[in-house]
């Protein structure tokens, strides 16, 4: 019997948030705190020849840190440890940190920052990934014989090239860290973050200290979206280096401009498609070349590339597929994690391209999809046979019906003949793999603990962070459901590496599905301990359960159970061959966008949006709906509003004034529907959900604009300037 799962329990920390009592890192100011600032490079590529300090400033007032002060290894721990915390020789991008300064007065620290000059011998810089000679990572997925199929004279071959721009995560709370550090006690940081144990490992290497001397505590975190996955390790390191040298606590808060310009963004991408189809619209071959701009250091680019490569061929059955992916090095600040993690880029290209292939063989976009959707038992290009029930056609039919697609498709076409406003409707069908790619979850070997206490509270201990997506609430629901108690009986412990085990990072739509499952089994563990000890009968009330916990702890000490990730038995992945079950499961979706294009201003407006998805069992309908709505909103922003303007490798519009995210005036009704097919390996049957919604908005909108205007937009974002250039090439 289910009472907690499927119920819109209220957000656990909601009351603290609506009353302003929730404490974010900048809300805490210890006595004697210093404020840290960062001196950065001013050139995209070069060699440091000297550092000069303005002689008119009394530098004895300031704490100053350079690479020479680093006690351990000057490399940020990640996949390839190539990025320094502080550059000492080569500069590879224009926002490279070089010197750190701290002072009790934030304004004076900022003033001093401007008094440092970095002398540099400039080197040639590369800003265009197509011109780059340095590859961080390549992947190739192969199925069948693509070249032979493309050469088939009976086939219709359609080619296309698609580009997506960078996107800023734009969490409303900028990045920030507070650190205390000394040789005796080690290093402690509190801050805004997604992945406490990434920072934990990074600080241990930076200081050359045992992990027992490092403590990382998450404060309330004002949004992440991937933007607080890897860069916080750098900020934590910087704050801790200053604190180590100063012997005082140091707070390092990024202002909005610094955060936008210097921290990671979504990788820009370029995708080329060559597709062979039969004249009646059956896919014969897909040849896909997918490139992303990694920026100046490797950071997470290999795994972003991996997800993008695997998602590039979409939810279609095709006998011959080749996807070649590569992450290129350029002299821009490293790009990194952003909701979707490479998949939105390759899915945008694919779904835009599928509409064009449909057109080339004279089929409606939905009929073309119908002839090619993957079905249970089919095998993806990466070698994964889909064993779960999947019905893309049912999702698409439902979405099209809810949107009134077929009627509007015809009516808009008829009515679009005159006037400055053109209406269009389009869709995208797609999937998103939940959890780490390939053997990632096996390597993480995540842990979660549930503890029964004597105070009538059951505690959940995990390093999964609450960043607005609802971790605290769904973990409470999952534990309460398993134990037959109430959400209010559960306390989700704030992630603190001194207290919680390593549950892996809070990324990849894995918190609910993977870590939630660990919470479920750990909760079952304490229940069984109580049953075995005779402190609980098979049928019990909530009060009896809590009393049982108390009696157990009084008799035997702590009542704790820890669960560790074990892969489902039927999953197989070969790292060497890059082949097999890439994900434990996928979420499946069909999204429809209705747009109006104004031929006077060239603005595109989204009038209506329907999002239908199958995400397994929905744990909390209000939270899940909020995830989808928010993800679609970011996808709409990415598609038509959010334009990172680059100048010599530097973001030229690093302000909310001129980097435009959607406001309450800009978004359509976002109508969200779930199909619920329980996933046996997820808690209560749930799959991952967080990233899925950003995959579908952009291609649906672009397909709608193509319908409205008759032109074929291929570059994202579709700003008015770009649309004008497409529609009136003679004028520009």
């Amino acid at each position: 019997m289910s009472t907690q799962i499927g119920h819109s329990a209220r957000r656990k920390e909601g009351r603290a948030k609506v009353t302003g009592q929730a404490l974010y890192v900048d809300d805490v100011t210890p006595v004697g705190v210093l404020h840290g600032v960062t001196v950065r490079s001013t050139v995209p590529h070069g060699r440091i020849t000297g550092i000069r300090f303005d002689p008119s400033i009394d530098w004895s007032e300031f704490t100053i840190v350079t690479a020479a002060d680093i006690p351990g290894v000057n490399r940020v721990t990640l996949i390839v440890d190539d990025q320094p915390y502080l550059a000492s020789d080569e500069i590879r991008h224009p926002e490279e940190p070089i010197v750190l300064i701290a002072h009790a007065d934030r304004a004076r620290a900022e003033q001093a920052r401007r008094g440092v000059t970095i002398d540099v011998e400039p080197l040639p810089a590369v800003f265009d990934m197509n011109a780059s000679q340095q590859v961080f990572k390549r992947y190739e997925v192969r199925k069948g014989d693509v070249d032979a199929a493309l050469a088939d004279p009976a086939a219709v071959v359609v080619e296309g090239e698609y580009e997506t721009g960078a996107q800023e995560q734009l969490y409303i709370e900028p990045n920030g860290m507070l650190a205390v550090a000394d040789a005796k006690h080690g290093v402690t940081v509190w801050g805004s973050m997604q992945c406490p144990y990434y920072i934990h490992a990074a600080l241990a290497a930076l200081f050359g200290l045992p992990v027992s001397k490092i403590r990382v505590v998450q404060m309330e975190t004002g949004g992440g979206f991937g933007g607080k996955e890897e860069y916080p390790s750098i900020i934590a390191g910087h704050a801790a280096l200053l604190a180590w040298k100063a012997g005082r606590p140091v707070k390092m808060m990024y202002g909005r401009t610094e955060d936008m310009a210097c921290t990671t963004k979504r990788h820009p991408s370029r995708t080329r498609h060559r597709t062979a189809v039969t004249r009646d619209g059956r896919l014969l071959a897909m040849d896909i070349d997918f490139a992303i701009d990694g920026g100046a250091y490797c950071t997470l680019s290999p795994v972003v590339l991996s997800r993008g490569t695997i998602h590039a061929a979409g939810p279609y059955a095709c006998p011959n597929v080749r996807v070649r992916g590569r992450a290129m090095a350029t002299n821009v600040p490293p790009n990194g994690a952003f909701r979707g993690f490479g998949a939105p880029q390759s899915i945008f290209a694919l779904e835009r391209h599928m509409d064009r292939v449909a057109g080339a063989v004279g089929l409606a976009p939905d009929e073309f999809r119908r002839r090619n959707f993957i079905r249970t038992g089919d095998t993806l290009a990466v070698g994964q046979t889909i064993k779960e029930p999947v019905n893309m056609q049912a999702l698409l039919d439902r979405a099209l019906t809810l949107a009134g697609y077929r009627e509007k498709r015809e009516r808009f076409q008829r009515e679009n003949q005159r006037g400055p406003l053109r209406k269009g409707i389009g869709f995208a069908t797609f999937m998103h793999g939940a959890g780490f790619t390939g053997s990632g979850e096996v390597h993480l070997a995540s842990l979660a603990t549930v503890e029964g206490t004597i105070d009538g509270v059951v505690r959940v201990l995990a390093s999964s962070t609450e960043i607005g997506q609802g971790t605290n609430t769904i973990f409470s629901q999952i534990a309460a459901e398993t134990l037959g108690i109430e959400c209010d009986d559960i306390e989700v412990v704030r992630p603190d590496t001194a207290e919680v085990p390593n549950s892996g990072p809070t990324v990849a739509s894995r918190t609910c599905m993977v870590v939630g499952k660990l919470v479920e089994s750990a909760a079952a563990g304490i229940k069984h301990a109580l049953l075995d000890a005779g402190y609980l009968r098979a049928v019990y009330s909530r009060a009896e359960f809590l009393a049982g916990c108390r009696r157990y702890v009084e008799s035997f000490g702590p009542l704790r159970a820890t669960s560790q990730y074990e892969p489902p038995a039927d999953l197989a992945w070969d790292d060497e061959k890059y082949f097999g079950d890439a994900y434990g499961t996928y979420a499946w979706a069909a999204y429809v966008a209705e747009v109006t294009v104004d031929l006077t201003t060239w603005e595109t407006r989204v009038d209506d949006f329907v999002a239908v998805q199958e995400v397994g069992r929905v744990i909390n309908p209000i939270l899940a709906t909020g995830q989808i709505e928010g993800g679609v909103a970011q996808g709409i922003g990415w598609a038509i509003y959010e334009d990172v303007v680059w100048r010599e490798g530097r973001m030229a519009n690093a302000q909310m004034t001129n980097y435009i995210m959607p406001s309450s005036m800009d978004l359509p009704p976002i109508r969200v529907y779930f199909e619920e097919v329980p996933y046996p390996n997820g808690p209560g049957g749930a799959k991952g959900i967080g990233e899925l919604p950003i995959d579908g908005a952009a291609p649906a909108i672009f397909n709608a604009v193509a319908h409205a205007t008759g032109v074929q937009p291929t570059r994202l974002p579709l700003t008015p300037e770009r649309l004008m250039a497409l529609m009136e090439p003679a004028r520009v």
Binding site: V18, T19, G20, D26, R256, G626, S663, M665, I670
Partner: protein, 164 residues
């Protein structure tokens, strides 16, 4: 560096008389957060775009990052800390909880105050009124739908305000 000139500023914050010394052009945001320890008012951009620092000053919603401290002299200011008394939440806060209007929470204090100010002037708003009334407050998590619902929901529970 010379000492900064400060002036004595007295005002009412959340119904309490307070006074502090500040440079006339200090940001009201910094005064609230640092001097008065009212950290529920958040800084998102520092340039008046995001509304995370919104407070109600003499009945008007203002971005405290753009408001000079001297503007507070003699004024009555409400921050998020002044919205509810002890255990009882304001109807808008209650609706934000019930409808999922808060996710990461960083825009929430400003958003709640913007919604309260909207409802004080337009007690029975249309969706268009709500969109316009909240347009100075950016939210990156929700796509705004849950927030619109929260505002509509709050209207139902707020006592009807007699209209002139």
């Amino acid at each position: 560096m010379s000492e900064r000139v400060t002036t004595r500023i007295a005002c009412t914050v959340n119904g309490r008389r307070v006074s502090f010394d500040a440079h006339p052009m200090a940001r009201l945001l910094d005064v609230l957060r640092a001097e008065l320890q009212l950290t529920g008012t958040k800084e998102g951009c520092g340039e008046g775009e995001c509304g995370a620092c919104a407070v109600i000053l003499d009945g008007e919603l203002v971005n405290s990052c753009l408001t000079p401290a001297i503007h507070a002299r003699g004024a009555s200011i409400t921050t998020i800390e002044g919205v509810s008394a002890d255990e009882d939440l304001h109807a808008v806060q209650e609706s934000f909880l019930a409808c999922g209007g808060a996710q990461c929470g960083i825009c929430t204090p400003g958003m709640v105050l913007a919604a309260m100010e909207l409802l004080s002037k337009t007690p029975d708003p249309t969706e268009a009124d709500i969109r316009a009334g909240l347009s100075g407050n950016l939210c990156r998590c929700t796509g705004y739908r849950r927030i619109f619902e929260a505002v509509l929901d709050a209207c139902k529970s707020l006592p009807a305000v007699p209209r002139p």
